[in-house]
Every structure is written in C-alpha cells, then in structure tokens.
C-alpha cells in the first residue's frame, strides 16, 4: 500500500509542472478572449466546456460512429498486418516487395484514396472503415516485421535444435518476441485510425464527428468547431493511452523496457 502510494505521489509530482503549464495556458486563453484582445473566432475554454456538457447527447450521437469506424479500421489493419507478417515470416524473399508495396500504399494521400474507394464501395460505413484501416496499416506492419526479424541468432538455433515446426517457431518464438516492437506501431496507429475516420467522414457521411465538424464550420458555429477539435484531440490521446494501458497489462516490465 505504502509503495503504490509512493509511486502515485512520485508520478503526481512529476506531472505537476505540465498541469501548471496547461492551466496557465488555458487561463491566459480565457482572459485574452474575455477581455476582447483575441478575435471572436476563438472560443474561450469555458464556453467550449459548457458546450461539450450541454450538447453531450448530440455529440455522442456523432462520436459513436466515428469511434466505431476507427476501432474496426484499427482492428482490421492489425489483423491484415498479422496475416501478411506470417506470410513474410514464412517466405523471407517477399519481404522487400511487401514493404515496398506497403510504402507506396502509405504514400498515397488518404484524401486521394477516398474518392476511389467511394466509387468502389459507395458512401458506406465499410468505405470509411477501410480508409481508417489503410491509414494505420503500414506502421503496424513495419513494426511487426521489425520485431519478427529481431530474433537473436541463438534463439533461432535453439528452435532449430529442438526441431520446432515453422508454426511453432512463429507462435512460440517470433510472435512473443515481436510484441514489444508491435506496440510501437500500434501506438502510432491508434490516433491515425481516428484521423482516418474523421477524414473519411468529411468526404461524405450522415453522422460522425467529421460530419459535425464540417457542418459547424460551414454554418460558422465557432463554439461547435472548437468543441469538435477539442473532442477529437481528446479521443486521439485516449486511443494512444488505451494502447499504452493494454501494453502494460500484457507485457512484463522486463520485456517492455527492452525496446522502449
């Protein structure tokens, strides 16, 4: 009890300067807007917060499909990366080809991919999920492959001497070894999935935070625009935080520090 209390106190102490800085920033922002020194197109924090609370029903109505799009896209990308990772692991020769293709796909701006996908799949939830998946696929794949390739020679030889089958080798050696690396990719990908969902929604959807943002912009609802910006920032940070939490839950501390 005392040790965990100490840890919390130490972490609180470490976070104090950041909290003070943010509070000061918000205070300055509020004062500047209230005193009329800042343009009226900037909403003060108090009004943004008030709007977030007052319109929580409407906002959740829009946030829910965005979260669903991002989550499904993220999971689909992870699944695809695993499938391709297994394939590359089995056939080393295709690695360069796969990485090149992945890099090319990743270099196509998501905003340019959207019209093509809309033509293929229509203005549907599937299209938006696919876009979210595409934008976060590459970082996951790269980190997974890096982890799969980082197996020490001795461990490789150990599994050879033990006459392990390729599947046993993948499951019991390569995959556990790759997980700490994989999490680096997942941490980058989680906020990206949300970004993908927002972009996909802004190219055409009925509901979603992206739609809400766009509508607020076109109708010059300054407070609503700011609220949607703050909300998407919070959601991105939360997505990142969730991946970190998940990492902490499934990886022992010793493995975590290995890559850091």
């Amino acid at each position: 009890m005392s040790s965990s209390g100490r840890v919390i106190r130490r972490q609180a102490k470490a976070a104090l300067p950041a909290v003070v800085a943010i509070a000061a920033f918000l205070g300055l922002w509020e004062t500047l807007v209230q005193s009329g020194l800042a343009p009226t197109t900037i909403a003060p924090p108090s009004r943004i917060l008030a709007l977030l609370v007052a319109e929580r029903g409407l906002l959740w109505f829009h946030v829910e499909p965005t979260l669903l799009t991002a989550l499904v896209g993220f999971l689909a990308a992870t699944l695809a990366a695993f499938a391709i990772g297994l394939l590359v692991h089995a056939y080393r020769r295709i690695e360069v080809t796969v990485l090149t293709m992945g890099a090319v796909l990743d270099s196509v701006p998501i905003i340019a991919l959207a019209p093509i996908l809309i033509i293929w799949l229509g203005l549907s939830l599937t299209t938006r999920m696919t876009l979210a998946a595409i934008i976060c696929f590459f970082p996951i794949l790269v980190s997974l492959l890096q982890g799969l390739n980082a197996i020490p020679r001795n461990a490789d030889e150990l599994f050879l001497v033990l006459a392990a089958t390729p599947i046993q080798r993948f499951r019991r050696l390569a995959l556990p070894h790759a997980v700490p690396y994989l999490f680096i990719g997942l941490k980058i990908a989680a906020p990206l999935a949300l970004l993908g969902a927002l972009i996909a929604e802004s190219t055409g959807a009925e509901w979603g935070l992206g739609v809400f943002m766009l509508n607020a912009m076109f109708s010059l609802q300054v407070d609503q625009v700011w609220a949607s910006v703050v909300l998407s920032c919070g959601l991105s940070a939360a997505a990142y935080g969730l991946v970190c939490l998940f990492e902490r839950l499934i990886l022992p501390a010793s493995t975590r520090s290995r890559v850091a």
């Binding site: 001497v161 033990l162 046993q168 019991r172």
Partner: protein
C-alpha cells in the same frame, strides 16, 4: 546413485551404445568476404556412450563449428557424423540432441518452469519419453523454489542452470555445450562444473563441451580434443584417467597436472617452455 527418474534410462544405456558419437573426416569451408576459409579439415573423433569430451583450441579453430555440425545447425562439406548411429538431422528430429549456448538463450517472457517445459511442448507428448518431469529437472539443476521466476530475476549462473535443465528435458543421448560457463566468474564456474558432472553422471548422457579453459577441460572430460587453427584440425587427443566422481581436490593430483601440461604443450607447441619474451 542416479536420480530415480533416470534410473531406467541408465539401465538401458548399459546395454546399448545408444549415445555413441562418431565424427569421421569432417571438413567445412566458409567463404568470408569472397575469401575461402577452411574452418575444419579431416576432423575425426569418437565418444562412447556416456563419455564426456572437451574441445579446446584457439579462437577460429572451428570448435564451435564442429559442435554446430553435430547439432545439425550447419551441415559439413565432407565426412560423416553419427549420433547413436543416426545422422545429425535424424538425431535432431528425434530429439536426441540437447544444446547449451554460451548465452543462456532463455525466453524472457517465460518463467523458469515454462522455459524448461519448452522442448516438451515443441516435441508433443509422443516424443516425451523422458521420465523426468520439468519439475524433476529443475530440482536436478538446483533451481527448486525458482520455478515461477522470470529469467531476468535470476543470476547468470542460475540462468545457465535453467538452460541446462531445458537441454535435458527430452533426455537427449547427446548433450552439446558451447562454452556454457564462459561468462561466469571462476568461483561460480567451479560450482557449475561440479553440478554439470553430477547431472551428466545421473542422466548418463554423452557430452561434448567447447571450452577455452585448460583446467576446465581436464577437470570435466574423459577425452580432450585439442584443435589448432588454419585449417581447423585436431592436433592431439588427451585421455584423462582421473576417476569419477571427480572432486575439486583432484586438481591437486599429479595426473591432473600431467594432463594440463600435455594440453598446454599441444596448444602452444615448442613455445610452451620458452620464457616470456620482453621487447
């Protein structure tokens, strides 16, 4: 005398020459930077079932290469190797080979027990003919009480004990050790030497160990194969006649000193008697 779990195995050992290692005129060349390097040439050696052999020689004499060929990690260019009459590939597939690396090579995400159990998981139940359970092996190597510790929580010596237990998990006929105690300090090293001798006697496995230490080679082995480099070849076979079980006090025996001197002479040739030359 033997650990109960191994007794029946020892009984079968006595009648069959199941763990006999035979290396005949083996050669291996590597191409490094486009240059042809003859790592080993015409290497022949035999170890009878249950014998302990040591490979000693300067860096680059191919002793690790030889060990890796016995384990079927790499294939020889010439000659033949058999373990209990089987070629290395078949012996490996039948789980007759245990390998201990210099680096313990434990899986960091697994506990001691899970690491020792790994070979059983990979081989499946059918191949698990060893009557010693992972728990028995952990006790055999003196890690009782640490079953659920992770490798990072263990000292270097304890990690290597765990690696030895893992190598023995499928009761292999051939135990190969590549400088297993090279990274340990001398005090722990002596202790591990004694432990390994006890374990090898109890399991009755044939053992072949690469070492850089003349003392260790003489203390552990029945037969010492002295290698020279360029090309890697065996230049001397030293039989150590000290009785088993061996004790640290055997190091004071005249036979011990004689064997050490013989290995040293074989390693250093005529330089052995020269005074250190100071420029």
């Amino acid at each position: 005398m033997a650990h109960p779990a191994f007794q029946s195995r020892l009984a079968t050992r006595a009648t069959a020459s199941s763990g006999r290692l035979s290396v005949e005129q083996v050669g291996k060349a590597f191409a490094i930077d486009g240059r042809h390097l003859q790592a080993l040439q015409d290497v022949s050696l035999t170890l009878e079932s249950g014998e302990f052999g040591a490979l000693i020689g300067p860096s680059g004499c191919g002793k690790s290469t030889l060990l890796r060929m016995v384990a079927d990690i790499i294939a020889p260019d010439a000659g033949s190797i058999t373990i209990g009459g089987l070629p290395p590939r078949q012996a490996r597939k039948e789980h007759q080979i245990g390998f201990v690396f210099q680096d313990p090579t434990l899986l960091s995400w697994r506990t001691v027990l899970e690491n020792v159990r790994l070979p059983l998981e990979l081989a499946g139940r059918r191949a698990a003919r060893s009557q010693a359970t992972p728990q028995d092996l952990i006790e055999l190597v003196g890690l009782a009480g640490f079953e659920h510790a992770r490798p990072s929580e263990l000292s270097g010596g304890m990690q290597q004990r765990c690696a030895i237990a893992r190598a023995l998990a499928l009761a292999p006929q051939m135990l190969l050790l590549d400088e297993p105690f090279g990274a340990l300090d001398e005090i722990i090293r002596y202790r591990m030497n004694l432990e390994l001798l006890r374990i090898q006697a109890e399991t009755g496995t044939t053992a072949l160990m690469v070492t850089h230490s003349i003392q260790e080679a003489v203390f552990m082995a029945d037969k010492i194969f002295v290698l020279a480099a360029g090309p890697g070849r065996i230049v001397d076979l030293v039989s150590v006649g000290i009785e088993r079980p061996r004790r640290l006090s055997d190091m004071n025996a005249p036979a011990f000193a004689a064997a050490v001197a013989r290995v040293r002479d074989s390693l250093f040739g005529d330089q052995a008697g020269n005074p250190a030359h100071v420029e």
